[in-house]
């Protein structure tokens, strides 16, 4: 074991149990401890849609995976080095992901006949040879927890619920990570219930002591992981949803504009609403509407009234909002719609990630109704992605779709705190006392009209979904005018490309294979391309922020490659877009399992196309704002 864990620069741990076992909490606490230890990290919360699924069932298994260590970590890891399984179901559903040499810790008390049956197991995997190729350490976690907290006088049920902290204590010991952040959290969370607070603290310490003092230490040696080569800045752990909320608020401040966030709860988008509710003193007002349609409509109403309306949902909800988005395009009002994508179609798999709403975002409206689409690539990137979406909406007076997904929303990573004072202000089209522009007179470079809100006697006007006169904004059914307005709408979105930075290569070399992608596959592709470059393969990673319009230089950039590979968590939507817009031939790599891409599978795919250069030396180019994470 010592050899296995001790020699590694990074580790992948997966916690798994019932959805009521506190697995996510355990994972989050380990994440914080890991960050405090100076490790880089990336997490993957992986839980069922059911809140408290029947205990012990396979479909009720909730898991949390983290990769942490002394290297640049951009993925939660392909396969766990250590699996902590609280019951038979949690063990068997995760076996497929394990490596041959993985270490498995199980709660031995959970492998009763009854619970084996709940997990549809005919025999006990601890005894029937299923686990022969793994190193298995059965520990009576439940009993040891109950025993440890016994002096505090809790009932058996409450006592048993402390087992996640007991196991966390043991895992923290295994990886030599501090208990202080968890202690602080427990003290704060259970401040009003001394008994539960103390029981959890005792459980945490007991698990830790079990590692230190018992014979198990002969099997589980402590692993000492080096610190990551981080930059000399301040970092914090942050989830995508948290950072998106912060980014939106930051954009409001940069634009000196109040935000009105109108939303309807939907998995996995609700967490953005929750975080923004907590930021209401920072220039955002939230409104929980009666449905998805009302949410987008209220947001557009707010934009008409002079605040920046923002709405958020996931695929099914976005489908409901589309008619209203068309109105925002027609009336040329600013709006940001955040889509936290999930596996579809229809309800699909609400808690599982996917990138299958790109067509919906780019093409999914009636009429010729173009709008800008941007995508976030990671939790750390959400801050800048949100600001960019708002900047475009206000610069061009248009709705903008910001694509993120369930993985980005829930996952966390280290985020280098940016120097916010260096962010340029966001200019709006609000009239000043001197403004002489008419409401529908457009700026020649952005095609933006005036953002004249009610309250100003100079700009009284009516807007609506009926086609309007290109100059006056009045109703017009004139044939030539509809052509002119359609052209204006198209030119407006196209003009966004004039204001965005040219597409750069994230890392790698030109001439061979270009891995072109968008969204949450960033971390996996970063690692896969980095590994390929280290093997001397002629490959580059190009990750898009702007989906519509594409960066003006993208066609030219891609012309410098022999092969273009497009890996996506869908059936080939960016691939279609690239063929459509750039008339290029692309090779697709697609996966729709509700899980992020694996480094290994992408690596294999790249190698199929990449030739091995002899003299090429990988050069890393770090794009502004996104990759400035580690040296």
């Amino acid at each position: 074991m010592e050899q296995q864990l001790g020699g590694k620069i990074s580790h992948v741990i997966r916690f798994a149990g019932d959805s009521g076992d506190g697995i996510q909490l355990q994972g989050q606490q380990f994440t914080v401890a890991s960050a405090m230890s100076g490790h880089d990290l990336s997490t993957l919360p992986d839980f069922p849609a059911e809140i408290r699924a029947p205990a012990g069932t396979r479909y009720g298994v909730s898991a949390f995976q983290i990769q942490f260590g002394g290297d640049r970590i951009t993925t939660p890891g392909d396969a766990p080095d250590v699996l902590i399984a609280f019951n038979p179901a949690a063990l068997v559903v995760n076996l497929g992901n394990l490596k041959a040499e993985s270490l498995i810790l199980v709660d031995a008390n959970a492998f009763t006949t009854q619970r084996l049956k709940r997990a549809d197991l005919l025999s006990n995997p601890l005894e029937d040879g299923t686990l022969d190729s793994y190193q298995v350490v059965p520990i009576e976690i439940s009993n040891l927890t109950v025993e440890a907290v016994k002096p505090l006088g809790l009932g058996t049920k409450d006592a048993g619920r402390c087992k996640n902290f007991w196991a966390l204590g043991l895992i923290l010991w295994m990886f030599d990570q501090p208990r202080e952040p968890t202690r602080d959290w427990i003290n704060q969370k259970f401040a009003g219930n001394a008994q539960i607070r103390d029981a959890n603290l005792v459980a945490l310490d007991a698990g830790h002591a079990y590692g230190e003092n018992t014979e198990v230490a002969q099997i589980l040696h402590q692993a000492h992981t080096p610190q990551a080569p981080l930059e000399s800045v301040e970092y914090r752990t942050i989830t995508g949803a948290e950072n998106l909320a912060l980014g939106l608020v930051a954009a409001g401040e940069l634009a000196d504009t109040e935000l009105m966030f109108c939303s309807y709860p939907i998995t996995p988008a609700s967490s953005l609403l929750h975080h923004l509710v907590g930021l209401e003193e920072a220039g955002v007002a939230t409104f929980q509407a009666e449905d998805e349609i009302a949410a987008v409509c209220a947001a557009i109403g707010a934009s008409y009234a002079g605040k920046l309306g923002i709405t958020s949902s996931s695929g099914p909800g976005v489908a409901l909002k589309m008619e209203a988005l068309g109105l925002a395009v027609a009336t040329e009002l600013p709006l940001v719609l955040v889509n936290s994508q999930r596996a579809g179609p229809s309800t699909g798999m609400p808690t599982k990630t996917e990138q299958s709403d790109l067509y919906q975002a780019v093409y999914g409206r009636n009429g010729d109704t173009p709008l800008p689409v941007v995508a976030a690539r990671s939790p750390a990137d959400c801050f800048d992605a949100a600001i960019e979406a708002v900047r475009i909406a206000l610069r061009h007076m248009t709705p903008v779709i910001l694509l993120t997904d369930g993985y980005i929303a829930n996952a966390s990573e280290l985020w280098p705190i940016p120097d916010f004072s260096s962010y340029p202000a966001i200019k709006t089209q609000k009239p000043t006392a001197e403004t002489e522009q008419a409401v529908f007179e457009r700026q020649p470079d952005t095609m933006a009209r005036l953002w004249a809100a009610p309250g100003d006697a100079r700009f009284i006007h009516r807007v609506g979904g009926i086609e309007k006169d290109v100059d006056t904004g009045n109703i017009s059914y004139d044939a030539a005018n509809h052509q002119a307005m359609t052209d204006v709408r198209s030119q407006k979105v196209a003009s966004v490309a004039d204001f965005i930075a040219p597409q750069t290569i994230d890392q790698g070399v030109t001439g061979g294979v270009a891995v072109v992608a968008w969204g949450s596959t960033y971390g996996t592709l970063y690692k896969a391309v980095k590994d390929a470059l280290a093997q001397g393969e002629q490959v580059a990673h190009i990750h898009l922020r702007h989906i519509n319009p594409l960066p003006a230089n993208l066609g030219e950039l891609l012309a410098g490659f022999e092969t273009i590979i497009v890996p996506e968590l869908n059936t080939g939507q960016l691939a279609t877009l690239l063929r459509d817009k750039l008339n290029v031939q692309v090779e697709q790599f697609n996966k729709v399992t509700g899980q992020p891409l694996n480094v290994a599978e992408v690596r294999t795919f790249i190698s199929k196309f990449a030739s091995r250069g002899k003299t090429l030396k990988p050069q890393e180019q770090v794009p502004a704002g996104a990759g400035r994470r580690l040296i």
Binding site: G38, P181, L230, E231, S232, V233, E234, Y235, R236, T237, I238, E242, L246, V249, E253, E258, M260, L279, E280, E281, A282, G283, A285, F287, A289, E290, I293, A294, A295, C297, A298, A299, I300, G301, A302, S303, Y304, A305, G306, K307, G309, E323, A324, G326, L327, L414, I417, P418, P454, G455, D456, A457, I460, H461, R462, V463, G464, G465, I466, N474
Partner: protein, 330 residues
């Protein structure tokens, strides 16, 4: 500044309703109401959905937003929450407000946000050429119900009161004398004010309200309710409504007949939702005027009572609120 007249609230846009449409009279009453009520054009917003009635904002010289089908209350909610200083009107119809947009109307009334909602009820779909609507009477012949509609109609008043509305009033499109003041009653009510206007679609549902609205018989078919006054009607004002406490219904009686005296007549109490429901559901006579007016804090007020427009937190402070790892040189 001189006081504005109703003409100041008209726009230069050509009005595009059918000749003889009841909407013209309503539009004129809106113009008058705005002038008489001292509405400020730049601080007033008319929001509408889709349908004949929803074209109205184009013809009112204030800010206006012609939105999408059924969603006007949601847009108006966004406008009012974003700027509670604005006077916000919603113009909708029986199809827009009660069919495709029923959900939004329900929740708007439940929240009691300060909007003035004018529902033009012509019991038919006009702009799509005459299909039956959710308020069409059973037996209505239309392109989609050639054998006569077999659906039970929705009563707008009952819907509103059931949703928790704090203000419900009714009028007829030809009643230009009382409409402007009724609209201002709606405007002055803090909370969602819901006004049903019986509107004559002369093309697809001509004279459907004749049993109630025909001028010749109106005195006997309408009862104009006034808070604190007995519920009397009739050409000689000798008919009235008596509460039958056994059947819990209002019955029509005539003073002087069957020993009925003025003391037997129910006195209108607009603050009583139960009485309002009985009045709203009467057909002959049909109740007109302010049927319900109760006080409940408006949503825009309660919404902002727990929030602030002020930016009290700056992003610079928020950046460092999570679990920090400081790797700056010590």
């Amino acid at each position: 500044m001189n006081a504005l007249t109703f003409k100041d609230f008209a726009t230069d846009q050509e009005v595009r309703w059918c000749p003889g449409c009841g909407d013209y009279a309503i539009l004129k009453s809106v113009h008058k109401a705005l002038a008489e009520g001292g509405s400020v054009p730049e601080k007033t917003v008319f929001v509408s959905g889709i349908g004949c009635s929803s074209r109205l904002p184009y013809y009112v010289n204030t800010y206006g937003f012609h939105t999408i089908h059924g969603r006007a209350p949601a847009f108006a909610t966004g406008v009012k929450l974003a700027n509670p200083e604005l006077e916000v009107w919603v113009v909708t119809g029986d199809g827009d407000g009660l069919s495709i947009g029923g959900n939004h109307l329900l929740h708007t009334l439940r929240r009691n946000i300060d909007l003035n909602i004018l529902l033009f009820n012509n019991e038919i779909y006009g702009l799509t050429k005459g299909q039956y609507s959710p308020t069409s009477r059973p037996g209505t012949h239309s392109p989609t119900s050639p054998a006569g509609s077999v659906e039970a109609p929705l009563a707008p008043g009952q819907f509103a009161i059931g949703a928790g509305a704090t203000f419900f009033a009714r009028c007829v499109d030809i009643d230009q004398k009382t409409m402007p003041s009724l609209f201002n009653e709606a405007k002055n009510h803090k909370g969602s004010s819901f006004v049903e206007i019986l509107q004559n679609c002369i093309v697809y549902n001509k004279d459907v309200f004749d049993d109630v609205a025909a001028k010749k018989t109106a005195a006997d078919t309408q009862i104009h309710v006034r808070h604190g006054e007995p519920l009397l009607y009739g050409a000689d004002n000798d008919k009235g409504l008596r509460l039958n406490t056994r059947t819990l219904s209002l019955e029509c009686v005539t003073i002087g007949e069957d020993d009925v005296t003025l003391d037997d007549i129910q006195v209108h109490d607009e603050t009583n939702p139960t009485l309002a429901l009985l009045l709203a559901n009467l057909h002959l006579p049909t109740a007109m005027g302010v049927i319900l007016r109760t006080e409940r804090v408006a949503f825009d007020e309660s919404y902002w009572s727990i929030r602030t427009h002020e930016r009290r937190q700056r992003v610079e402070q928020l950046l460092r609120t999570g679990n920090m790892l400081d790797r700056r040189p010590k």
